[in-house]
């Protein structure tokens, strides 16, 4: 089973997305801030990370940069999830090292398409 690390500080979003991912056959582990995300990227060895960008403690951009800077975790694909559907947000996320980008509210089929595309490419 593919393991997804879902990084999201909003409880409702976390609950919703984790249930929908689980229903679609993913194993979901969760982090509530950027610091926890960095730690769990190492300890949980997820297949993919879904990263909210506006996070407490360490924000999603910085957390992505650190995950991508660590040789042990840099191969894990990161999909940025943000509520701001602005062009510059996508650019900013990609600059931080995110492999793909999607906006919230999440379209689950589209997100799964993106997850699959990234996993196929590996």
């Amino acid at each position: 089973m593919m393991k997804v690390l879902l990084v999201e500080d909003n409880e409702m979003n976390r609950d919703m997305l984790s249930r929908r991912l689980a229903r679609n056959g993913y194993e979901v582990v969760m982090a509530v801030d950027g610091q926890q995300a960095i730690a769990m990227a190492g300890s949980e060895s997820p297949d993919i990370i879904l990263m909210d960008m506006s996070l407490p403690v360490i924000d999603g951009w910085e957390a992505t940069r650190r995950v991508k800077a660590d040789p042990a975790t840099k191969a894990i694909p990161v999909i940025a999830l943000t509520a701001h559907a602005m062009a510059e947000d996508e650019k900013k996320a990609r600059d931080a090292g995110c492999d793909d980008f999607d906006t919230k509210p999440v379209d689950i089929q589209r997100l799964i398409g993106k997850i699959n595309a990234l996993m196929d490419g590996k």
Binding site: M12, N13, A83, A87, P105, G113, A117
Partner: protein
């Protein structure tokens, strides 16, 4: 024929004219003695009879006013007097506020044969109106800022609950499907569809308001077309399948790459493809890519999005790109959508330098075609060696110019023009990139955009001026100007912060002032200590300092002297401040080529920066018209730069 007036008659007429003027008038003879005046003068300045009746001079008058507190408390009246006497030989004017609050404009003009006339006008009302007008403008500007941040915040606040509505209704719908509860499933799908529609509206209204506010930015990158089309396909596949349509993609595998904004291109294609899917049932939707060359030899990529749907009448086509209109008002009911997608698509295509066209007939389907140029130079590439190696032979071939701008169009225009002139061009899309290029390989000249995301032009300039390796690079600030300012390019190429670093000032003088021994540097500052300090440095650099305590004195000096080699200008000064000086100095033709270096306290407000951006540093339009000005400015700066370097090397 005009009858010759007797001198007695002429005297009477002039007397009547003076007495009936709206302004106060006082006339002084060659010895500066007050010889005549009118009632307004007595009224405005509250002059007592006993003062006027006797043989008073201009100096007596100023001393009398000073003693009465007319110029405020704690002033050095002899200094005030000296300032006024210094400019009596020239026409000059200034404004001052009287102790009773009256704002007065004072104008003094020399009279042929000696003496001068002083005219006093009450401009209190005019000033009030100007203030009210300025306040109204400021209010309008701040209201606009509030609107922008309101939209951004509202978008975020609206999305959060929408997120829950869409997400949980979909969760429940999946549950209902598992249970086989068709009634609940239908209702839940309606909730989620309505939520998505609302979300689409919010996104598009936000996009449109950003476009209209001029805040939508373009990020150029070289993208792989087959991969981009693959991404688009993933997104539109579910929409295509919904009405039983088939998507045909014709993309030559060797179509290659395109330098454009990835997100905007994708959004345009998704908009067109989802429209096509929406208005076609059990048919085909076609996406075709092809390469072309424009008449002037530029590479173009064409995207055709065609469908076998219902098509449109010419009237419907005519209304297509207007906001909130669809083919007819029933369309929204039948097909959903916000009616903003095509408007936004058209705006995006225009921003990317392309065109969009549509061919349609009722019953024959519709084809939209987007043609985008393969833009050059916009990407923040750092192929320094390549650029240097490819430098064309030309007059300016030894001069490297770093263009720093977030607008790809500016890179395009400057590349075309300056490249032809033989300048070696480097490109940076933002401040951070510019600084990294400069540190690796310092260019001869930098053109710097004032408004950029993250680090703005002013900050880049500030950082450059704090690094020894970069501080000597001449900088041309580029900013958008209106027509009024278009022709105005006062070639100041520097600004300095206080406290003044004397080493840097000396270096600056060497760089900017021509290496002539009789060069004069005009120092305008109300602080005598600063003037003296700067004057010493100027003397030390082998030039002659001239001093003025404020903008008015400086203007007076300029009208009596040859233009100086350089003006060092303080901003905050009494009477006529640095900003007003910059406004007024435009009237001096001879000052056009004189560099002005602004000496300023560190913290400028945004408004002050904006003012300076328009007036002190070289002002150039991005519209491309005054490109000749830029070329001239560049060679002038390069000349100064090289002359300075040669001098420093002697």
């Amino acid at each position: 024929m005009k009858r010759q007036l007797s001198s007695k008659e002429e005297h009477a007429f002039l007397r009547a004219t003076i007495d009936n003027m709206q302004q106060g008038v006082a006339l002084y003879d060659a010895d500066h003695k007050l010889v005549t005046w009118n009632e307004r003068f007595v009224e405005y300045l509250e002059m007592p009879e006993e003062f006027l009746g006797t043989d008073r001079t201009f100096s007596d008058y100023i001393r009398y006013l000073g003693a009465r507190g007319e110029f405020g408390d704690n002033i050095d009246i002899e200094k005030e007097l000296a300032k006024r006497l210094a400019v009596l030989g020239t026409s000059h004017s200034f404004e001052r506020t009287r102790p009773d609050g009256m704002v007065m404009e004072v104008r003094r003009d020399p009279v042929p044969g000696g003496g001068f006339i002083a005219i006093y006008a009450d401009i209190t009302e005019r000033k009030k109106q100007e203030l009210a007008l300025r306040k109204a403008m400021e209010d309008a500007e701040s209201a606009n800022k509030v609107k922008s941040s309101f939209l951004a915040n509202m978008s975020h606040e609206l999305r959060t609950p929408l997120n829950a509505i869409i997400g949980y209704s979909e969760l429940l719908a999946e549950d209902a499907q598992d249970r086989g509860d068709k009634a609940a499933l239908g209702d839940l799908e309606k909730i989620s569809a309505a939520g998505k529609h609302l979300l689409g509206l919010i996104n598009e209204i936000l996009d449109l308001s950003k476009i209209e506010a001029g805040k939508m930015e373009v990020y150029l990158e070289r993208l792989d077309l087959p991969k981009t089309i693959g991404d688009v396909k993933t997104i539109v596949d579910p929409m295509i399948a919904k009405n039983g349509n088939r998507l045909i993609i014709e993309c030559p595998p060797d179509i290659g790459t395109l330098n454009t904004d990835l997100t905007k291109l994708k959004q345009c294609l998704i908009n067109l493809l989802s429209n096509a899917a929406k208005f076609t049932k059990q048919g085909t939707v076609l996406l075709r890519l092809s390469r072309h060359t424009s008449e002037d030899g530029r590479d173009l990529v064409r995207f055709d999005v065609g469908d076998s749907g219902m098509g449109m009448t010419p009237e419907q086509v005519g209304r297509l790109f207007q906001a909130f209109t669809q083919a007819d008002s029933s369309t929204t009911r039948n097909f959903g959508g916000t009616g903003l997608g095509l408007t936004i698509t058209k705006h995006f295509v225009t921003m990317l330098g392309g065109t969009i066209d549509v061919v349609s007939a009722p019953g024959k389907g519709t084809t939209f075609s987007i043609v985008l140029p393969d833009r050059e130079g916009g990407e923040g590439k750092t192929s320094l060696a390549d650029d240097l190696g490819l430098a064309p032979e030309g007059v300016a071939s030894s001069i490297t110019v770093l263009i720093v701008d977030d607008d790809p169009a500016v890179h395009d225009v400057l590349s075309a023009t300056l490249g032809r002139e033989g300048y070696v061009l480097l490109h940076a899309r933002d401040g951070a990139e510019a600084l990294s290029i400069m540190r690796k390989s310092p260019p001869d000249i930098v053109t710097l955009d004032v408004q950029m995301p993250k680090i703005d032009g002013w900050s880049v300039l500030g950082i450059m001026k704090s690094e020894p390796a970069l501080e000597h690079i001449p900088v041309i600030m580029l900013t958008i100007v209106d027509d009024r300012n278009l022709g105005f390019s006062l070639g100041a190429s520097e600004f300095m912060t206080k406290p003044i670093d004397r080493t840097r000032l000396t270096a600056l003088l060497r760089k900017l002032a021509p290496a002539k021994e009789d060069s004069t540097v005009l120092i305008v500052d109300d602080d005598a200590d600063v003037r003296e300090l700067v004057a010493n440095t100027v003397r030390g650099a082998g030039m002659t300092p001239a001093q003025a305590a404020n903008g008015r004195e400086a203007l007076g000096w300029l009208s009596n002297h040859q233009p100086p080699a350089l003006v060092l200008l303080d901003l905050m000064m009494p009477e006529v401040d640095g900003f007003a000086f910059l406004e007024k100095v435009r009237e001096f033709d001879s000052m056009k080529d004189v560099p002005v270096v602004v000496l300023t306290a560190k913290d400028l407000t945004d408004e002050e920066r904006a003012f300076l951006a328009e007036r002190t540093l070289l002002v150039l339009s991005k519209s491309g018209q005054p490109i000749g000005t830029l070329g001239a400015a560049l060679s002038a700066l390069a000349h100064r730069h090289h002359a300075g370097a040669a001098k420093a090397g002697q």
